[in-house]
């Protein structure tokens, strides 16, 4: 089955990097949309729900932490798995994002293969929970 993905990051080249990993990982990716911050992400999600959200934390406008908080408060969106992809590897942040519902946490730097493995794990868990 084809997965729809939303990539949320204020860096266009980081979004390209992630999109490339998705494409090369062998996942069947149906629609891959992008947002530059949490505000854009929520606007997109209200129109087109997705199978997985990949989000940065430090973004202008609305950061990834606030985005997860809003997703968790939304009856429809709270079941969409979110993976954090961030430079912030401080303990407090990781714990907070997991408590807010993040299903995975990738701290930069990481290799493309490590991101692929994490996506496989999260999508595998998602598929198993829906089986």
């Amino acid at each position: 089955m084809a997965y729809s993905v939303l990539i949320v990051d204020d860096s266009p080249v980081m979004r390209s990097f992630i999109r490339r990993v998705l494409r090369l990982s062998g996942f069947e990716v149906g629609e891959c949309t992008e947002a530059g911050n949490g505000i854009e992400a929520l606007a997109q999600l209200s129109a087109h729900p997705v199978d997985i959200i990949l989000t940065d934390i430090n973004m202008p406008g609305m950061n990834g932490e606030e985005l997860l908080r809003r997703l968790g408060a939304d009856g429809t969106l709270k079941t969409t798995p979110a993976v954090v992809i961030s430079t912030d590897a401080t303990n407090e942040r990781i714990v907070r994002m997991i408590e807010l519902g993040a299903q995975g946490y990738m701290s930069k730097p990481f290799t493309p293969e490590t991101l692929r493995d994490e996506l496989e794990r999260v999508l595998g868990d998602r598929d198993a929970s829906r089986a």
Binding site: T90, N91, K108, F110
Partner: protein, 174 residues
Amino acid sequence: MPPELDQLSALQKPSTMDQEPTAADTIRQVAAEVLEAMFFTEDELAACEHGWLGSARCARIRFEGSHFGEMLLGVSVEATDPIAASFLGLEPMELTDAERGQVIEELSNILCGAMLSKLWPESKLALSSPELTGWQEWREGGALHRCFVIPEGMLAISIRLIAPTPDPRAPGPG
């Protein structure tokens, strides 16, 4: 001198076997991890001869929270295209000028975040969006600084703590 700068200065002393890694060790370790994992290149410490920084692509990123400061990254002009191309999986001739700048900004973002997370793992920090800047804004006084040679050219990283800007809303002395 604000007390935080004393802390950073103290971290600059070379470490010994029985000491915690210094900030200088951390910069070196993080630079190697970042460059190898996402840019497929390796670095070595180099002597600081800064003539090349005049034409380098530089990015600055600020951080605030439990620590206030900024980091500067300089990438030599001959290294910019290979680094950007490696990150994006492209040939150098396929790069747009926007992509060149954005990759340098993202490299500074990754280096800064990874360094701060290693230096102060229990801290609470927010990073600004990186911004491209010129050599004129490169500051060496009071900064922890290292130069690296990579197969593609040169890299320089400088990080410093600054005193937080006083909150204008805070009550003044009575």
